[in-house]
């Protein structure tokens, strides 16, 4: 309890630093671009158009049979991008904070936390693109949209947990960065972003036949994306399995991330 209190106090003291770091990243990202923050909206929008065209013409059947494929697709893209950007930038956060933490004392978790927060800010901006796509395609607005905060919030915690663990690992082995890129690419195809797993042919591994819709349940991202779709696109609200799986994955990821990070953090300064 005493320790928790000390942590909270420490965090409270450095909340402005967190704010300022996010502000800095934001300014630097859009400095010298004419459209500035509009890109946060325009970029996913254009990506969405490209993918919708690709999947409904080149790969003929992928888009068919899915209700409002554009919205279905952009939700997957936005949430996956958040996870990808959050973990990817948190991973290098300790390395780029080297000049700072070698000179002054700052609680180290601030840096991965800041990167994931910044990714969230970007994600929130890009939800404008989601709204635009919904308006253009005439998607229905359901009251359950208010529940969308739950998959988003738990995804944030999940991303933070993974980001903390990756940040710690990267300090000691830079290889992690390269491996993670490959891993997220695989994950991208395996998160039901542009297809409905129910429609896919079963996977054949040796003599065993696995249906994708069974296997994909072991991918936490699938649950966050599906949960978000359920509230925003389908208007069905969250099922119990969505609630507890999203929550549990977030808690486990955060616990593991904090554990790894805390055990290693005193050694960071000697390795960067």
């Amino acid at each position: 309890m005493q320790m928790l209190k000390a942590y909270a106090k420490d965090f409270w003291r450095y909340r402005y630093l967190l704010q300022n770091l996010i502000g800095r990243d934001f300014k630097l990202k859009y400095r010298r671009s004419v459209l500035g923050v509009v890109w946060s909206v325009l970029n996913p929008l254009l990506m969405n158009v490209v993918m919708v065209v690709v999947f409904s013409t080149l790969f003929d059947m992928r888009g068919s049979g899915i209700k409002n494929f554009s919205v279905y697709l952009i939700i997957g893209q936005l949430l996956f991008n958040f996870f990808n950007e959050g973990t990817g930038s948190a991973m290098g956060s300790m390395l780029s904070a080297a000049p700072l933490i070698k000179k002054v004392y700052i609680p180290k978790y601030i840096f991965p936390l800041e990167r994931v927060c910044f990714a969230l800010v970007n994600c929130l901006f890009s939800f404008i693109a989601l709204v635009i796509v919904m308006l253009v395609t005439g998607a229905e607005l359901h009251a359950t949209v208010l529940l969308a905060f739950y998959p988003l919030l738990t995804l944030f915690v999940f991303t933070l947990g993974i980001g903390l663990a990756l940040a710690a690992a990267t300090v000691f082995f830079r290889d992690v960065m390269h491996l993670w890129g490959v891993f997220t690419l695989a994950l991208n195809y395996f998160s039901a972003i542009f297809y409905d797993p129910e429609q896919m042919n079963p996977l054949v591994v040796g003599s065993v036949e696995l249906s994708l819709s069974q296997v994909i349940r072991f991918n936490p991202l699938y649950w966050y994306i599906t949960g978000f779709r359920a509230t925003v696109l389908d208007g069905t609200g969250l099922t119990w399995s969505m609630v507890w799986i999203c929550g549990l994955c977030a808690v486990i990821a955060l616990a593991v991330g904090l554990f790894v990070f805390r055990r290693q953090q005193d050694k960071f300064v000697l390795h960067i």
Binding site: R13, Y14, Y16, L17, Q19, N20, L21, R24, K27, L28, R31, P99, L100, I101, K102, K103, V104, Y105, I106, F173, R174, D175, D266, V269, L270
Partner: protein, 261 residues
């Protein structure tokens, strides 16, 4: 009242003979049994106590662990053994401008660096004009730092770092930056910071300066405390290492000195 307590602190560094920065290299080395670390103690069993209002000096030759000790006290390094307790707010004037982002303007950097040092934006708002006036760079406030000269960056950094009056001031050498006129201002500012009951921990190679300013002195040699006690006594012993060189340095530093308040 004790302000800084350093109890039996040791700081060990593993100096790997080669750095393994990739998994493959690491495993190869581990398999071949080549993972050797040379243990190096930068500090060994160092204890010191600084009371409120005291000026405590740390002396020693290069590589004796002075800067490591300051970093342990300011929290950058966590000691391998022993512990450090600091009561009250602490301002480390060890390296200026931590967290400066060259792509941001001076105005933005003042806020960023201020919050790195643990100041609140409100406090920085209040002191903003004072910081800018001190650095004499008002007309360049909205220019990115990358377009500044190094002297100008140092001015801004010094102005922010010394804006609060801390309970404990930790300084690696008496800082003064910029041209000779600005150095005069820096020294004036340092004198202000150190006056009126501030506790000061000072590392300096200028033995004359330490002798004049400090009450107590710790002499480090190869990471161990060689001698600790009254300033005059310790400094005399230290200077006895090479009396001639000490005398020359003292004569030189007398030309421009900072008097203890």
């Amino acid at each position: 009242m004790k302000m800084i307590e350093v109890n039996n602190v040791s700081m060990r560094f593993n100096m790997a003979k080669e750095k393994h920065e990739s998994l493959k290299e690491y495993f190869l080395a581990a398999v071949q049994g080549k993972l050797q670390f040379e243990e190096f103690y930068a500090l060994r069993d160092v204890s010191l106590t600084v009371h409120k209002g005291e000026f405590h000096g740390i002396i020693g030759l290069n590589g004796s662990g002075k800067s490591t000790l300051l970093k342990v006290i300011s929290g950058v390094f966590k000691p391998t053994a022993g512990n450090v307790v600091v009561h009250g707010s602490i301002a480390p004037l060890i390296e200026l401008g931590a967290g400066f982002d060259m792509d941001l303007t001076a105005r933005e950097n003042i806020y960023l660096n201020g919050t790195v040092l643990g100041l609140t934006p409100k406090y920085i708002d209040e002191k903003f004009d004072e910081i800018v006036d001190f650095s004499e760079l008002r007309e360049f406030l909205d220019v990115p730092l990358k377009n500044y000269s190094s002297g100008m960056v140092a001015r801004i950094a010094f102005a922010i770092a010394t804006i609060t009056k801390p309970d404990v001031l930790i300084a690696d050498e008496i800082l003064s930056v910029g041209d000779f006129m600005f150095q005069e201002k820096c020294e004036e500012r340092m004198r202000q910071l150190m006056s009126g009951g501030t506790t000061v921990l000072l590392v300096s190679h200028s033995i004359g300066q330490i002798e004049r300013m400090c009450d107590h002195v710790t002499w480090l040699e190869k990471g161990r405390v060689k001698m600790q006690g009254e300033a005059a006594e310790v400094c005399a012993a230290y200077k006895a290492l090479d009396p001639e060189a000490a005398a020359i340095q003292n004569a030189n530093s007398n030309k421009r000195i900072i008097e203890a308040p």
